[in-house]
Structure formats: C-alpha cells, structure tokens
Amino acid sequence: MTERVPVTDGGIDSDIRATRLRVLLRGALWALFVVGLGIVFIFPATMIVIGVFRDGLPTAADVPWTFDGFVAALSNPATWTTLLNSLILVAAGGTISTAGGAFFAWIGTNTDVPFRRALTPLMIINLFIPPLFYTFGWIMLGNAQNGLFNQVLRNLWGVEGLINIQSWGGLIFTISLGFVPFAYLLMLGAFRNRDQSLDEAASISGAGTFRTFFTITIPSVGPAITGAAILIMVLIFQSFENPYLLGKPAGIDVFATQIYAYIRDTTPAQYTSAFTLSLMVILLVVVLFSIQRGLLRGRSFTTLTGKTSRRDPVRLGAVRWVFAALILLFLLLNLVIPLGAVLLGSLQPTFGVLNRLTLDNYTAVLADPLLRSSLVQTAWVSVVGGLIAMSVAFLTTYIVLRRRGFLRAYVSLAMWIPWALPGIVLSLAFLFAVLAVPGWSGLYGTPLLLGIVLVVATIPLCVRLIEGALAQLSPELEEAGKVSGASQSRVFLTIVLRLILPSFLTGWFLAALFISGNLAVPMLLAPPGFQPVAVTALTLYVNGDYSGAAALFMIILFAAAIVIGLVGLSRLLGSRISARTSATNHAP
C-alpha cells in the first residue's frame, strides 16, 4: 500500500541539474549574507582603528597618516582621568548590581522569604523601562536645585540641596540599581537549577545557613556570577545616559561622554582623540571577555543535574522579614519612586507645583506639531527597527547554533562587534564608514543611517533574548520537518519561527522600547528635522521644561502598556476562540 517514490521526469540528469541549481542559489545567498554582515558590522568597526591614525574626516582631501593624535590623546591627562572614572564606575556599579542580583536570585529561588515570588515579575517590568526614563525620574527627585526630595526637605526643615543625584554617589547609585534586574535575570537560571543537595550536604556537615551560603551556595554558581558580573561591567562601560545626565554636570567624564565631548563640544572636533578613547574601550571590553574565558577554562560546574526535584527552601527564620523588607525597598527605589516622579512631573503645570495637577502637558505635547512628529517618528523607528534587529538577531543566532566552520566563526565575530562598541562609538564608526565610501555619503544625515545604527546597537540585547529560546530548540524538530517533505524555508517559518514566536515578540517589544529610549546614537546621528523622543526630551530638559519631558516619556510608556494590554487581550480571545472552534468541530 505504499506510494511509489515520485521519479522526476528527467531521472538523474534532472537531479544533477537541481543539485547544481541548489548549490548555486545557496552559495549566492550565503555570499550575499556574508557581504551584508561585513558591510554593516565589520567594515564600520575597522574605521575606528583607521581613525586613530588619520586626522580628519574621511571626506577631507590629503588626510595624513599620523601618530600625533594618538600620542596627543595618550599624553592628555583628561584621558587618564576618564579611564580612572570609568574604572571606578564599572568596579563599583558592577560589584553592587551583581551582588544585589545574586542576592535577590538566591532569596527568590532558594529561600522562604515572603514576596519572593514577586521578584521575577518585578525584575522583568523593570527591564522593560529604558534607563533614560529612570535617570530622568531620579533627576526630578534628586536634582540639587529643584528635585522633589530637596523641595520636601526645604519645606519641612529649610535644608538646602541636601541630596544631589548629579554626583559620584548618585551616578553609582542609579547605575547599580539600574543593572540589578538584568543581573538577577542572568543568574536566575543558575540559582534555580543548582543542585540543592549541595547545601543539604553542607548542613549535614554542620555548617549554618550563612556559612553554607558563602562557602557552598555562592561558589556553586560561580560561573553564572562571574559571567553576569562581566557582562554588566561591559554594559556599564558603554552606558551613556546616566554619565551624561548625572556625571557630566558634576564634572565626571567617562569614556562615552568624553568621546561625545571630543566630537561635539570641541571645535574643531578632535576625532583622533575620540577614536583613541574608543579603541581603549574596545580593548577593555576585550580584556573583560578574555578574563571570563580564562575563568571558565578548565572548570567544570554541573549546575544542571537534570533532576529538577523541588526541595524545601532554606528556612531563614526571623531574618526573612528583613529580606522581605529589602524586596519592598527595591520595588520602591527602582520602580515606584523614579517612575512615580516621572508621572507626577508630567502632571505638574510647572515643575515643582504640586497642588494643581493637570493633563495640560499631555495635550501640549500632542498639540505641538514638532513634539507630535517626534513621537510618531520615534514610534516608527522603534517598531520597524525593533523588528529588524530581532530578525537579524534571530537569523544570526540560528546560524551560529546550527552551522559549523567559517560561517559560524564569521557570524560570531560580526555579532560580537556591537557588544564591544558602545552606542556612541558605534555611531562614530558608522559616521566615518558612510563618509569613507563615495557612493554612500548620501546616507549621511538621513533617518535611514540613524535607523541602521539603532538596529545594530540593539542587536546584543536581541541576541540575548533569542539565544535561550533557540538553544532549547532541538535540531530533530527541524529534521522531522525536512523528512516530512517540507523545504528549508518552510521548516524555518512553520517550525523554527513558530516555536520561538513568543520569545520573538517579547524581544521585538523590548527592542522597540530600548530603541525609543536610546540617547547616545541619535545625539550624534539624528538628522535635522528628525528628532527621536530621547533627544527631544533632552532638549526640553535642558531648557528647563521637565514636565514636558516627563509627559513625553509617559506617552511612550502608555503606548507600550497599551501594546501589552492588547497582546494580553488577543491571547485571551485567541485561546477562547480556538477552544470554542475545537469544541464545535469535534462535537459528536
């Protein structure tokens, strides 16, 4: 009863032709892909190295090759202050946020602290709010002149400027707090999957809870902790928004802000200095990643035992209430207070006036054609850019997972570049790359270039989000599709994409939000007449219109909340409808 193999008309000759066609087509597609990645990821990065040794824009004629700029940058004491500042910020912020993340991950998964189940949702919500928005919230609260805290203190006790968020303390505080959710989510899996019998063995050996925690629990998730710490340090190295808004007013320059200053705040722009600093950042990031490699080499930690038997959480006794209070404190500090400040600020007719809240700022923003177009443009760039970033991340991660040899190495390298290049350096690299190629200089000052760089800058985040989902996808699921007769592209769409769709959509949403909150890239690349919300809000803020800036942010967050709401609703309806149709279809 079996059906015969459909023999193709021409027999072997047609199969030879078909094979040749497939090989050619595939080769062409791969070549296109390799060249495309090269243009977008690798070529701009080379501009940085070249830029260090050529003084001037690539468009200028007769630019000499010289070490002068390089030497000048290295002999400038500002460079070394910048390095020191960056190292202090990275060390302090990285340590605090990793410790905080590890602490919350531990109480969330291994203990009986009340409210621990709220931790993961809380951290995820936190992650969904771009750092720029938080920083604004904190400025509204802790600004020395007219921050809310200081206003309250002044009214109560007549104290002036007690709190100043625009300082070393404020910078480290907001950076550390801001990265705790990311650290937490990076380490959550390791803490959840670790073999709790290790702790039990320690307890049986006579170690108390705290001794067990420090001698067994923490070392057993060592690689996860160092991995998270290094990733967060890299991200802090690259952060622009906090240092620019909080550090710069206090005279604290880090790499990202100093590079920006060399390009925009000095005339003529000191490109070689900017590139030298960029190269230093990249080298430091490379060093950090190599340290991680070195740490992981030769150590085998089987945190995953395969048996996910749930064991009793560690009983902490009275101290669990202290920990519960810490969770609440974190909720207040990292979500309620800064976001509340933005919300409150957006409702004040003039910043600081608390007794007459109105929606005037919102109507003003929406009525102003410039602000409205800024919102609309940001929405477009974010939604389309997020989709492209997610698609590129999906495709490249998939290739890295499924391919071997040259393609894998090449794609890994290309994908690594946006990891190592902070937004401001990336923008600078693209700026020069576009100017260096005659046919491309038309891209300079267009929304398209801004969009491309925003996409590239968002890719590391997207890769992180899609990696986990793809890694869980067994290759056999795809093979089963091919064996069933489905073509490669059909398998890719109906099986691979379909299965990771939830992660893909979440990633798209998050990528869009992050693009809308990216300040570094548009500050360097936004063309005239095209101002993303981040830059618009900054302009409003610089002009003293805090309330208007706050209203802009709240509109974005409201829009995001509406999207989430719609997704939730459609899911609910979808499951209802499918439940009903399957019920009617199969009624007897």
């Binding site: 059906e3 007769g485 490669q488």
Partner: protein
C-alpha cells in the same frame, strides 16, 4: 516499496572519518537493523541515507532514483526523498496537536480536506491513538508520543522509514510492546525499514537482517540467528552476549573443530568457520550458559577443574565466576543440572569439574587496536 543500494559511503568530519566506504544493499520490504555501540557510525549511516547529512563520498540509490552521487554531484535533499523517520527524542512539534503533527507531511505534500482527515484518522487508528487527535502532542506520555511520531512517519506512506533509536527513551516493558508494534506496522504496510539501535535484544527480535557496525565499517551482516549463534568476531560475540572471550593457541586443528589452549593446560574445543593451523593464536568465544558442571572424575576434551570465586543466585540458575589455571571463566549453571548431579548451590571456594560444550564455543576473529579497548571495557563491565 524501496530498495536501497549504498556503495562506497564515506563521511568525514574534518580529517576524522566516521564512515569508511560502506557498501550495503537493503532489499525492498526488508527490516534491517544497524547495530553497534555509540560512535560506531550507525547513526551517521542512517542520517546519510535520510539526507540529513551530506556524505563525503559514495553513491546512494533509493528505488530507481540516485539520491546521492558525489562523483556526479547529485544530492537530493531529505524533503525530496519521500521518506519517513522516527527520532529518538520523538521530535513532535509542541505547537501542533497530535492530528496536526501527523498531518504535517500530508499538508506539505498538498493533500487537503477530507482525504487528509481520513488519512490522519487511519494512521492514528493504526497506532492505537484514534481518540487522541485533538490533544497537544507534548501532553502525552512517552510511549504515546513515540506512537504519534510513528504515525507521522507513516502518514505520507513513504517507501522507506528510518528509525533512530526510537525506543531508547522508553522503559523496558513499553519498549517491548512498542517494538512489536513497529514490526507489525512494517509487515502490514510493506515498506522498507532501516532501524538503528545499540540494543542487541531489540535488534534480534525486530529485524530480518542485522548489520553490526564498528568504527565506520561493517563488522558482520546476517540474520539474527547468524549473529546470535555464529558471531564471526570477538567484537560481535561480545555484543551478542558471549560472556567469555579468551585467546589461546591452537594445539589440535580439525576441519570443523579446533582444540585451543587458552591457559596452561586448559584446552577448549571450539567450532571453526575458517581453517586454522596448529600454533595459530586464536580467540575463543562462548556463552556462560555453555559451561556445564560435570560429575567428579569425568574425562574428555574441554574439561577443566576450577575454583568458584563468586556465586550469584539468579533465579532458575546460578551465575559463577570460576578461576581455572589462571583463566577466569563465567558460567551460568541451571539449577536442574545441579540437582541432577546431586549438588547444592556452589559457593565461593568450592572446586568443581566444568566442561565447555564444543557446539557452543566458537573460534572467532580477534580484536586489534581500538576494538581491544572497547572490548576490554565491556568485559570489565560484565565481570
């Protein structure tokens, strides 16, 4: 129905070859099993046949279509080979229901409407899951999931079905019933089946023919009876459960038998498949159950006196580890045999007369090189 002809199939990963020029002919409607330990190349062979791996060299013909010919640069991708496959991990798509999983190959093949629904119902019925069509595929038990995978492989009525260790994730009892179902579906549908496993019992009970593989080469190819009774090499003997594999020197050579001295003064008589000469070093293999206890004072060939060093009661028989003249022999003695001789259960320290029956002992090809390593490991595990 599909005949498969493989010639010179070679697969290299970098410089390392996983398959060395394999030649196999699988007749139409045959149930063939590729048997061997992990790393022997059986799965690579299967994946090359299915088109999931591209062979480095060789020709594969399925039915009257050349699907791989590296010389003429032909490679037909898996989706154009009209095959079915059952995976070790079941590989059911979690976003589809049981019926949708089974219907996927049909949908891809362009079958629609009533015809498709009927076909899905038919194959689900064949695997005993008629009631489960609307369930989510991953909500089923392991055995049920594997039956869905089986139904999916059968749905488009391919001429050939490949099985990649499909039962290894199931428990023993389920494995037995599922194995029977696989075989009866093969018999009913009359397709060709190629089955990969490392379990000799599974191979013996299911197959028309077994191909034992070793380091990318075919070690022995024959019916289950052939392999069970007449393994040609120590490697296959070991795999087929010959607990005793000893090396020795031929002291008496006959046309069908040879006497082999496996330890000083310990001479066993064994069947020979190929001619051996006096003084040759050969390997003798026999099962523990081919060792018998003899009354004290017996004489003859294959007889030896040994000391029991270990005795394990295993129900209807007793397993012994016997030391005789420096050689270690495993014996499985039926309790009825002991009763007939008026003996109690032997315990450690007892000395008894044993005989290895010549009909059960075989002179086989020895091991060399890497094979030795695997075999020693296996023997150590048994001992």
């Amino acid at each position: 129905m599909t005949e498969v002809v493989v010639s010179g199939l070679t697969k290299k990963y970098g410089a390392k070859a996983a398959l060395h020029g394999l030649d196999v002919r699988i007749r139409s409607g045959e149930f063939v099993t590729l048997l061997g330990p992990s790393g022997c190349g059986k799965t690579t062979t299967l994946r090359c046949l299915a088109g999931l791996e591209k062979p480095t060299a060789g020709i594969v013909t399925m039915g009257d279509r050349v699907v791989v010919d590296t010389e003429r640069r032909v490679f037909v991708p898996p989706e154009k080979r009209h095959i079915g496959m059952v995976f070790q991990s079941y590989a059911l798509w979690p976003h589809l229901t049981v019926a949708e999983n089974v219907g996927y190959p049909l949908r891809v093949g362009g079958m629609r409407g009533v015809e498709r629904r009927e076909r899905i119902a038919e194959v689900l019925d064949a695997v005993g899951l008629a009631e489960y069509g609307d369930r989510s595929a991953t909500a089923l038990s392991g055995g049920q999931q594997q039956r869905v995978a089986l139904a999916r492989a059968l749905a488009a009525r391919p001429g050939i079905i490949f099985y990649d260790e499909p039962l290894s994730n199931l428990d023993t009892k389920l494995r037995f019933t599922m194995g029977r179902q696989v075989r009866s579906l093969h018999d009913e549908n009359g397709m060709t089946s190629v089955y990969v496993t490392h379990d000799q019992e599974e191979a013996i009970t299911l197959s028309d023919r077994i191909i034992v593989m070793n380091h990318g080469l075919i070690e022995q190819d024959g019916t289950p009876e052939d392999l069970y009774d007449r393994p040609s090499s120590a490697y296959v003997a070991d795999f087929m459960g010959f607990q005793n594999i000893l090396t020795g020197v031929v002291v008496e050579a006959g046309a069908r038998h040879a006497d082999v001295e496996v330890a000083e003064g310990l001479i066993l008589r064994a069947q020979v498949a190929e001619l051996v000469r006096m003084g040759d070093t050969v390997t003798v293999a026999f099962r523990a159950s081919h060792v018998h206890v003899e009354p004290a004072g017996s004489t003859g060939v294959g007889l030896f006196r040994g000391e029991v060093v270990h005795s394990t009661f295993v129900g209807s028989s007793v397993d012994l580890v016997v030391h005789a003249r420096g050689a270690s022999v495993q014996a499985r003695i039926e309790r009825s045999e002991l009763e007939r001789l008026g003996l109690g259960h032997p315990s450690a320290g007892d000395t008894l007369e044993f005989r290895v029956r010549a009909s059960g002992a075989l002179v086989v090809k020895g091991r060399e090189g890497q094979r030795q390593a695997y075999a020693t490991e296996a023997v150590n595990m048994v001992a």
